[in-house]
């Protein structure tokens, strides 16, 4: 039984991992076709993964409503929003517009989802400003460098700043194109090396956390 529960999944990971790592180096139409197919397969399997996530969300909020826990009204709003959108979507066959006319689903998308999403991201600007204020306090040499770099870049990115300090435009470009680029490049290389290392560990069964806990 342990073979089926533990070894077979590891074997599946090993075989699929090696096959699709090797696929990149095989410039043959069959290889390309295999990649196209598996991409589609992953999309389909991902659809089923959504069922797991959504049912978990349903469950958590259903419990809150049933037990009348603090804030259960908000869970009810969530339910209404979700079910209302699903009904509108199914009614409109998943289309936001038909022949140029907005459907009910399109209405929900345009007048509820888009403004809510945009505003959620918009308030991030305030949090970034607040975080930047705390970060930029020059308590050490490194923080001072951060502060100076940030001030130069901010001045260089707005017309007023460039008008007040003419050099700031070129300086901020240089910071972004040379200093910032080199740091980004190094971090990207580091992250990529980490990705490759983790992938190799997964393929060869060194990293198994994706199998979940529970019995062997």
């Amino acid at each position: 039984m342990i073979f089926l529960r533990r070894q077979v999944p590891l074997l599946i990971t090993l075989i699929t991992g090696l096959v699709f790592a090797g696929q990149y180096y095989v410039p043959h139409p069959a290889s390309e076709q295999m990649l196209t197919s598996v991409t589609k397969w992953l999309q389909i399997i991902g659809g089923f993964a959504l069922v797991l996530g959504v049912s978990s969300l349903f469950h958590v909020h259903a419990i809150k409503i049933r037990r009348k826990e603090a804030g259960w009204g908000y869970s009810f709003v969530l339910y209404v929003g979700m079910l209302g959108t699903i009904v509108a979507g199914m009614w409109s066959n998943g289309k936001e517009a038909v022949d140029g006319a907005m459907t009910a689903f399109g209405w929900v998308y345009n007048f509820m989802m888009v403004p809510l999403q945009s505003t959620m991201f918009a308030i991030l600007a305030f949090f970034i400003a607040s975080a930047a204020y705390r970060s930029f306090r020059a308590r050490s040499r490194e923080a001072a460098v951060l502060l100076i770099a940030a001030v130069i870049v901010m001045m260089g990115r707005v017309p007023l700043g460039e008008y007040l300090i003419p050099l700031s435009g070129d300086l901020s470009q240089w910071i972004l194109n040379v200093l910032n680029a080199s740091v980004r490049r190094a971090i990207l290389i580091g992250v990529s090396l980490g990705t490759v290392a983790l992938s190799i560990k997964i393929i060869f069964g060194k990293e198994r956390s994706y199998l979940g806990g529970g019995k062997e």
Partner: protein, 235 residues
């Protein structure tokens, strides 16, 4: 203007203002809009996934084109749902193993090619112009990112930042100088994360631990911190 547009504009404006009320403080209007946002987003995702996956990727190709092979990913997807049956939950591992295996396999060559080799190439290739030959000139123009001076600055930056994140050797002596160059360079980049990475990975460094503990890091602080002059020490 149609009635639904007018109502829609009012709803959109109201919800926008509800979200912005959070800038004052957390309040019921914000929570209402927040939960509505989650609900609508999940509903939208469900509908779009149903339309894209079930209808266009599974149902139509199978019924209209007879692509029966698509039943394989459907079966693999169904295996995931065994999570709901505790005794059969282990079967879902097959589906996760397939996804993770394919994802890892696809990631390795593409990451090496598109990120590692490409970034190294972009860093090193401009240096080829510095190799002595006929008519080689050293350009000092800072405003041109491709100038010789900037190329060397970028090379030093990339090397020192990479060394800063390399914890297999202790950062002492010349290594310390290189690592310090790296962290200073980080101040010009997306790198408030530098400290965090450092103390998480190389917690043996004293100042790293001090940094972790004094900022209420992920681990509980069991050591006493002593501030002496310009740095923290563990006591």
């Amino acid at each position: 203007m149609s009635f639904e547009l007018i109502i829609g504009a009012w709803v959109a404006t109201g919800l926008t203002l509800f979200i912005f009320t959070f800038l004052y403080k957390d309040n019921p209007l914000f929570k209402l809009a927040e939960n509505l946002y989650v609900g609508v987003s999940v509903g939208y995702t469900i509908v779009k996934t149903y339309d894209t996956v079930i209808v266009h990727l599974v149902w139509k190709p199978i019924v209209e084109n007879g692509e029966w092979a698509l039943l394989i990913p459907v079966a693999i997807g169904m295996l995931m749902l065994t999570r709901y049956v505790p005794k059969a939950a282990w079967i879902s591992r097959y589906a996760f193993a397939f996804i993770v295996g394919v994802g890892s396999g696809l990631a390795i060559p593409r990451t090496i090619s598109s990120f590692i080799l490409k970034q190294i190439e972009d860093t090193v290739r401009p240096l080829l112009t510095l190799i002595p030959g006929e008519g080689v000139t050293f350009t000092w123009n800072l405003l041109n990112p491709a100038s010789s001076l900037n190329t060397i600055i970028i090379l030093i930056g990339v090397s020192s930042v990479l060394f800063y994140f390399f914890f297999s050797v202790e950062h002492t002596g010349p290594g310390k100088v290189v690592a310090r160059t790296g962290i200073r360079r980080c101040r010009f980049g997306p790198a408030r994360c530098c400290h965090r990475h450092r103390y998480r990975t190389a917690s043996r460094y004293r100042w790293g631990l001090a940094c972790c503990c004094s900022r209420g890091g992920p681990w509980p602080c069991r050591l006493r911190l002593v501030y002496a002059g310009d740095r923290w020490f563990l006591g």
